[in-house]
Symmetry: D2
Subunit: 281 residues, 4 copies
């Protein structure tokens, strides 16, 4: 399956132009979604094309599309082949629930990606990661945080990661790394953002006495917990729940939200526009 | 806004053909949704076109579309003008919560339709309906049910209703009336179908000890509570809730589900295929 | 039904002492709920006693309870008779959805209270309120806000309101009025607090790109939108939803959350402790 | 913590009698929940008592309670010590998601139990179970189903299981085994019961076109999928979801519902009454 994802200023005839181009190549659409943001005057589009319906290579298809269509409409676009799995590196700290959840889903075929390595600043996950037959690297965060992040950047390069998932990785990513991975680094924050950004969100939620707790999957930007939101969900809590109960109940929300957000990202359904996302399902 | 809704056997090039046709007329798409049902081999499409972008009348547009596109692909299709509001007749029995909810939403502009009349087999809603300035007809259901349904059919004809909503109307619709209004008569059933079809679903739910109750908005067919489902939702209940509590809690679910289902219908988002629906949002 | 609601420092034997006292008077418990907040070292209790099981008056029962039990444990407590309906004044501004919803629920017997009057700073709700046979007062908010609030305070006194509900009343309540009605003035805020306090929360939510919107029912305190939370809920939204769509979708959440919060308040299920609530169901 | 769980015909003074008895022993209640089922005229009660607040052994406490309280009220009751972990045997078939989820939760301390063994009629889970350091037994189901169930019964006896969890174990349990484990054998069914009992519930759900799918955690009885329901939940689906998508989306619901149901069971919060449950939280 080829996936063609487009964002451009809205105008008349875009769908016709794109779909005619695809049809002219012989392409069979199996999915197509659009969104016109009236306020922003911007148009978003995602199509899935059966790879075997195109007589040309992905490269040739992309070349022709750039030539014949994209330039004319000022499109930001990319096309990907679902047969080429993205490589997703996982970063974790002490908590293992998101890591274990993603590894299980991956092994069960729920996540259409490769996992080239797991990196953590905590030694405790080695047995878990080895159980899934994956490389595990422990990068301790001592006094020299810059060195630790440099080591992580090296590992990500070494393993040729396409996407990085912060599966409850509790170190603040330095701005340069945020920029280098813009749109490709996904975090799960354990609150319903923008409430309770920063440290100890469940404690903050407990102290405020909220009746629902939440989790937010978002792209990482230099401003902490403020990047484009991909997915959120909540769970009901009550006065009976201690801070530890919130942590426990929240784990299930975090796992579900991160998995859904990552899945959308892997299927090229997420388009970032400004500080928001369009999710074309 | 013109809305073009299409269902046809799936094949290559449908989107291109339709969108090129629209573009050739100068039409500006503001929304477009597709669905290809791989199991059924069937394709569904809904587009919204800015009325002021088309130099031709709706009639002429439809004529050309039939001629140039629809026949070739064996399409079931229709095009409607959102400026022409559907006329939705409401039928009720004793319970007023769905009726009152729809009337309020209508008066608040949430439902893009006219309400030509309210018909009930119970006298109690007259003041409510008059408050909204609408005609109210009470058709009692005594020994002669056929006569009562004939009276209702006459009223629906008299008021030129396009769609009928059974807003907790508790009489079983005769098959001939179901057929006459196929795809245009919407019911709210107070259970999560297919559980608890028929009478007293909350009592059934109470006796079974379920932990969630639900409501189902569906098109009416001759088989009771078995028509194509448009929308469903649930609410959590517990052992503390008596049958009366279930009735009370269920009312909120019924209101929300019926309003969402009707709204989708009014926006031409619902395509019936077999005994199921495709909701193109 | 008598409802006895207690909060006190936790220690051994409270339940035994209270329930023995009730049993000694011949009282039959029909409901009983407890909560021990381990972190705060505080104990909360609510019991319902069949009024006809007590041979003494409510006054006498309260007198004995104060004498024999409450003092010994340093209890904050009150006892109420469900046969004496609370009088709940409703305040509204331009938007009518919460007002209309509460009025309908009240007329349908869902809210166990009287509504002595509806006060608004907008003339538009008179017909609606008159439909329910209730007094309506329009208090315009011009240059002299203090005078307007004085007029409202007078009306609340005149109608002997026990509780005030701000059913989307969009004026900031002055601190003196907040204090006078502490624990008895309930607001619905159209966001999932603490996110998006203050003005135009749906616009804020739209701009942040959240994937869920919410509503919060809370007691009013002098600090805006920061009082003890009674109830919250959320609804899913997407990039397809405009700010107007958020407003529309949010209305349903607001109505449901306010009705549930008010109902809990009317049934004496809410105990305020610090800036949080315990909801004993 | 000692947990005292009681069910008996309702009458005046039960709470007082029980709590006075506990107080007389010096017991400190940390949690207490009650429910009076008015329709059934039955009373349910659960209390947690700090073990260190009682000067007597659990055995002595139980002996006295039987003597002084339970007989007089015709109580069905039991008392347990949370320090003595229940032993929960897990049974699985081919699908591993519920099994893997429970094992992870157990290892993370979310489930307060021991897992003496995992039994499956499929060889594929050995590595997973060994990763958690637990015994794994594969009991194939060939022609002689009776022999296979006899082997399972032997294993459950050998490992002294207190509770059995059917973590997507897809063999119908024979009536004698159901009876032997009445109230102690928990199943997760992959539908919102009573809809879609029996085989292939997701296929049934797909064919019916429901808009929500669900899962149900219930005690096993001789009648298939008809035992007392402990917990249920649902997830939203659409026309876009294939039968395989329903299976995938349903897995998350199944995992959550089973974990919550088992947790309630392990904390002695579930009282079975007739074919329903009271969950005292």
């Amino acid at each position: 399956m080829y996936r063609l994802v487009i964002a451009c200023p809205d105008c008349v005839g875009i769908v016709a132009r794109v779909s005619s181009f695809i049809a002219a190549q012989g392409g069979w659409l199996t999915e197509a979604s659009y969104h016109a943001d009236r306020e922003a005057g911007w148009f978003f589009m995602r199509t899935e094309i059966r790879a075997d319906s195109l007589p040309v290579s992905l490269q040739e298809f992309a070349h022709r599309f750039a030539d014949e269509v994209a330039g004319q409409y000022g499109m930001q676009w990319h096309v990907s082949d679902s047969a080429r799995k993205q490589q997703v590196a996982l970063l974790a700290s002490k908590a293992s629930h998101c890591l274990a959840d993603l590894l299980y889903r991956w092994s069960a075929g729920e996540l259409d990606c490769g996992i080239p390595c797991v990196i953590a600043n905590h030694p405790g996950h080695e047995a878990l990661v080895r159980h899934y037959g994956l490389p595990y690297h422990c990068v301790p965060f001592g006094a020299d945080r810059a060195a630790a992040f440099a080591a992580i950047a090296d590992l990500l390069g070494h393993y040729r990661a396409d996407t990085v998932v912060l599966a409850r990785f509790m170190q603040v990513i330095p701005p340069a790394l945020c920029d280098a991975w813009a749109g490709r680094m996904i975090n799960i924050h354990h609150s319903f953002l923008p409430s309770f950004a920063g440290a100890q969100p469940y404690r903050q939620a407990y102290d405020r006495g909220v009746k629902l707790i939440g989790a937010t999957c978002h792209y990482v930007t230099a401003e902490l917990d403020a990047g484009p939101i991909i997915e959120q969900d909540v769970a009901r809590v009550s006065h009976r729940d201690s801070p530890d109960d919130l942590v426990r109940l929240g784990r299930d929300v975090e796992k579900a939200v991160l998995a859904r957000g990552l899945r959308a990202h892997l299927e090229d359904r997420v388009i970032i526009h400004g500080n928001k996302t369009v999710i074309l399902d």
